[in-house]
C-alpha cells in the first residue's frame, strides 16, 4: 500500500501568515480607505514566492535566446573596464592612486553597473508589467523590488571577474572585505528608493521613462567610477560626497583594494538622505498605488 499523503502543511509561522491572506476564512475588505503599513508588509511577505519567481523569471528571460547567454554578465563589465582603461587610464592618463587602473575602475564598475541596472529596471517595472497590473491583484511593491534583486545575480558573476583580476595583479583584499554586503545593500536601497519614486511617477508621466537613461548617465559622471575622487577640488569634496553612490563606490575600493576611505561625515549624511528617500518613496508608492490600474 502507498503511504498516506502527509496531511496539511505543518502549521508553522509562515503558513499561518499565508492563511491570513489566502486562507478560506480570510475576510477581505475592499474600500477606498487605505490599509495600514503593517498589514501591507505582512501581505508582501505572504507573497514572497511571487517575488522569488519574478526574480527568477527576470534572470531566465534576460539570457534566453541569446547565443552566449549568461556570459553577457561577464562581457559588460569587462568591455567597460577595457574601454575606460584605454581612454581614461592610458590616453587621458587619469590618476588611479597607485592602483593599476583596470583594477581601480573595475572595483567601481561592479557596484555601479548593478546600481544602474537596478535603477533602470525598477523605474520601468510598473509600466513594463502594465498588463499584469490591469488584470490581477498582488502587492505592486513586488515589481520594483524584484528588479533590484534580479541584478544581484549579474553582480555575483561580475564578482568572479574581479577575483580573477585580483589574482592577476596579485592583490589580496584585507579584512575590510566583510563590509561588501553592507555596501551592496546601500546601493540596493538607493536604487530602490529612487526607483520607487520614478516608477510610480512613470505610470502617469511617461516622460520619466525617457529621462531615466539620461539620469543614469549624469549620475555616473558624478560618481568616481572612471576617475579618482582626488581630482574633485577640495572645496567641492563635501557636496560631492552627498551623492550616495560616492560612498558605495569609494567603499568598494576601500574594501577590495585597501584604498583609504574618504571623509565619513558626508557619507553618513548621504545615507540619511537615502533613508529619507526610501521612506518617502514607500509613502508615495503606497499613496499612488491605488490608481495604477486606472491610469497605466
Amino acid at each position: 500500500m502507498k503511504p498516506m499523503q502527509p496531511s496539511a502543511p505543518n502549521g508553522d509561522q509562515e503558513d499561518v501568515l499565508h492563511d491570513e491572506f489566502f486562507g478560506h476564512a480570510h475576510l477581505t475588505e475592499i474600500s477606498s480607505a487605505g490599509r495600514s503599513l503593517r498589514s501591507d508588509l505582512r501581505e508582501l511577505w505572504a507573497y514572497r514566492d511571487l517575488l522569488f519567481l519574478l526574480v527568477r523569471r527576470d534572470i531566465s528571460i534576460r539570457y534566453k535566446q541569446s547565443a552566449i547567454g549568461i556570459a553577457w554578465a561577464v562581457v559588460q563589465p569587462v568591455i567597460t573596464m577595457l574601454i575606460f582603461s584605454v581612454i581614461f587610464g592610458r590616453f587621458a592618463g587619469l590618476d588611479s592612486e597607485g592602483i593599476p587602473y583596470p583594477l581601480f575602475t573595475l572595483a567601481a564598475l561592479l557596484p555601479w553597473l548593478y546600481f544602474a541596472k537596478a535603477l533602470t529596471g525598477s523605474s520601468d517595472s510598473l509600466v513594463a508589467s502594465s498588463n499584469l497590473i490591469k488584470k490581477v491583484y498582488f502587492p505592486r511593491l513586488i515589481l520594483p523590488l524584484s528588479k533590484t534583486l534580479s541584478g544581484l545575480v549579474d553582480l555575483a558573476i561580475a564578482f568572479g571577474v574581479l577575483c580573477v583580476m585580483l589574482a592577476w595583479y596579485g592583490v589580496v583584499p584585507g579584512w575590510q572585505v566583510v563590509f561588501l554586503p553592507l555596501l551592496i545593500l546601500i546601493a540596493m536601497m538607493t536604487a530602490l528608493s529612487v526607483g520607487l519614486w520614478l516608477t510610480a511617477l512613470n505610470v502617469k508621466y511617461r516622460d520619466i521613462g525617457l529621462m531615466v537613461p539620461f539620469v543614469v548617465q549624469i549620475w555616473m559622471y558624478s560618481s568616481p567610477v572612471a576617475y579618482s575622487m582626488t581630482i574633485v577640488p577640495a572645496q567641492w569634496q563635501w557636496i560631492y560626497s552627498l551623492n550616495p553612490m560616492v560612498g558605495v563606490v569609494e567603499g568598494f575600493r576601500w574594501a577590495v583594494l585597501g584604498k583609504a576611505l574618504p571623509a565619513l561625515e558626508p557619507i553618513l549624511l548621504s545615507l540619511s538622505i537615502v533613508f529619507l528617500l526610501f521612506l518617502s518613496g514607500i509613502w508615495f508608492f503606497r499613496h499612488t498605488e491605488r490608481t495604477f490600474a486606472d491610469v497605466v
Binding site: 502543511p9 486562507g23 480570510h26 477606498s32 531566465s60 528571460i61 490581477v136
Partner: protein, 431 residues
C-alpha cells in the same frame, strides 16, 4: 447554514475622463500656466469629466451561489469584477469578500511568452496567490486538465492560442478558490474545451464555492447560474431568477433603456455615444435587401445583407467582425465571423468602417430575433461584444407553398428541403 461570500455595499466607481496616461509634464504645465493667467479651465486641453462606471450597487452573494451578471457594453460589469478582484479600488462604498478569490478576467495574464509552460504555471500560480508547494502538488492535475503534456517544457510563445487558454484556465480553476470570477474566458477555445470549462465551473459551484460569471452567452448563464443580476449604465436594474432577469434584459435591449436606439430610419441600430475606454465599438447596423436598399425587415428565404458600421480607436494588426442571430431566449442560431470562421483576414487603423455580411437566403422563420455583433482580435479576445444589440423581425412567407408559413411559434429554421412519397419497403429484408 449559508453566509454571505460577498457583500457589496453601496459600491460606486468614478473615472475621470480626459485624464489619460498620455498626459505628460508639458500638458500639466500648460494647464497650470493657463489657470494662472486666468484663461480658466474652459480652455484647458482636455476637460476632465466625471464618469460613473458604477453607481450605488448593493448585492449579497451567498456561499455556494453561482451568480451570472448580464448587461450591455459599458454597463459596468467589468468594473465590478475589477473591484471585486482588487485591481482597482471603489470611489465610494465597500465590498467584503470571504476567502480566496480567483479571477479569470483574461486568461493568460502573467504568462510570459519566453518562459516554458512549466515555468509559467508556477509563476501564474504565484500571481494568483498560490504557494510553490501547492502548485507543485496540483501540477500534474493542471497539466492533465489543460492537455498540454508534450509541450510543458516548450516556451508558451510556441503554443497555439487554444493551448494557451487551456493552460491558463487550468491554473486558475485548480486554485481552489472560494470565489471564482469568470469573465468571458469561454469566448475562446474549442467547443470541447468550453464544455469542460463549464463542467469545471459547475463542479466548483457544487462544492459549495461561489461563482460569479459574466457572459454574453445567455444560454450558459441560464444553465450555470442560480441567480442573475442585470447591470445597465452602472446601475443594478434587476436580480433574481436567471430566466426572468435574462428575459428582462433581452426585452429591454434595442430599446432606449439600453443605450442604443432603433429610431434612426433605415437602421436596426445606431449609437453615437461611445462607452468609456472603448477601443472599438459598433456604431450602426443596417439590414439591406438584394438591391442594397435599407429595409426594416425581411421575409423568410429572401436575400438579406447586414451592414455593420464600426469605429476603431487604435490600430489592430488583426481584426475580426462577428455577427450572430439568436432567439429571444438567447439560443444562438447563426454565428459567423470574418475570421476565424471565415478567411477574410484584415487589420484596421483607427477610423470608421463598414462591412457587409450577405446571406443568400434568410433561413429564419417568421418572428423576432436578437442580433448580436462583436469586434474581436481573432481567436484572442473580444474588444466589443453585444449579443443583444438590437432586434430583427422576419416576415412570414409561405415558402413551402403549403399555406403554413414557418414561424417561430413552431420552429426557428426554415431550411430548403424535400420529402419523397413513401416507397414500400421490401418484405422481410429480402432483395
Amino acid at each position: 447554514m449559508t453566509r454571505a461570500a460577498i457583500k457589496i455595499e453601496n459600491l460606486s466607481k468614478c473615472y475621470r475622463l480626459g485624464e489619460t496616461h498620455e498626459q505628460t509634464f508639458s500638458d500639466q504645465l500648460v494647464r497650470i500656466a493657463r489657470s494662472m493667467v486666468g484663461r480658466g479651465r474652459a480652455n484647458s486641453l482636455r476637460q476632465a469629466k466625471d464618469f460613473w462606471a458604477l453607481r450605488d450597487i448593493s448585492l449579497n452573494i451567498m456561499e455556494g451561489e453561482a451568480v451570472g451578471i448580464v448587461g450591455g457594453n459599458g454597463a459596468g460589469k467589468s468594473t465590478l469584477l475589477k473591484i471585486l478582484s482588487r485591481i482597482t479600488l471603489p470611489t465610494e462604498g465597500r465590498a467584503l469578500v470571504r476567502g480566496r478569490l480567483s479571477s479569470l478576467l483574461e486568461v493568460g495574464t502573467g504568462f510570459h511568452p519566453e518562459l516554458t509552460g512549466r515555468e509559467n504555471v508556477f509563476l501564474n500560480g504565484a500571481i494568483l496567490g498560490m504557494r510553490n508547494a501547492e502548485v507543485a502538488r496540483k501540477f500534474d492535475e493542471i497539466v492533465d486538465f489543460a492537455g498540454v503534456e508534450q509541450f510543458i517544457d516548450t516556451p508558451v510563445k510556441r503554443y497555439s492560442s487554444g493551448m494557451y487558454v487551456r493552460l491558463a484556465f487550468a491554473v486558475a480553476a485548480h486554485l481552489e478558490p472560494d470565489v471564482l470570477i469568470i469573465d468571458e474566458v469561454l469566448a475562446v477555445g474549442d467547443a470541447d474545451f468550453q464544455k469542460r470549462c463549464l463542467g469545471k465551473m459547475g463542479d466548483v459551484a457544487k462544492e459549495g464555492r461561489t461563482v460569479i460569471f459574466v457572459s454574453h452567452n445567455m444560454a450558459a448563464v441560464q444553465k450555470l447560474c442560480s441567480r442573475a443580476a442585470w447591470l445597465s449604465s452602472g446601475q443594478l436594474l434587476a436580480e433574481g431568477d436567471p430566466a426572468q432577469v435574462i428575459r428582462q434584459y433581452l426585452d429591454a435591449s434595442g430599446t432606449a433603456a439600453d443605450g442604443g436606439s432603433d429610431t434612426k430610419p433605415g437602421f436596426l441600430y445606431y449609437s453615437e455615444s461611445a462607452a468609456a475606454h472603448a477601443k472599438a465599438r459598433v456604431v450602426s447596423l443596417q439590414l439591406l435587401d438584394s438591391r442594397s436598399t435599407p429595409v426594416s425587415e425581411v421575409a423568410t428565404w429572401e436575400p438579406m445583407v447586414f451592414r455593420v458600421g464600426f469605429e476603431v480607436a487604435e490600430r489592430f494588426r488583426s481584426f475580426s467582425v462577428v455577427l450572430q442571430i439568436a432567439t429571444l431566449d438567447g439560443a444562438v442560431l447563426i454565428l459567423t465571423s470574418t475570421a476565424p470562421d471565415n478567411t477574410v483576414e484584415f487589420g484596421v487603423d483607427s477610423g470608421r468602417y463598414f462591412i457587409d455580411c450577405t446571406f443568400e437566403r434568410c433561413l429564419l422563420s417568421a418572428g423576432e430575433y436578437l442580433i448580436g455583433v462583436g469586434l474581436a482580435i481573432p481567436s484572442v479576445e473580444y474588444v466589443f461584444r453585444e449579443d443583444a444589440l438590437c432586434r430583427m423581425h422576419v416576415l412570414p412567407k409561405d415558402v413551402l407553398g403549403s399555406g403554413l408559413p414557418p414561424t417561430t411559434k413552431r420552429y426557428f429554421v426554415a431550411s430548403k428541403h424535400a420529402w419523397t412519397r413513401p416507397d414500400r419497403a421490401p418484405e422481410g429484408g429480402r432483395t
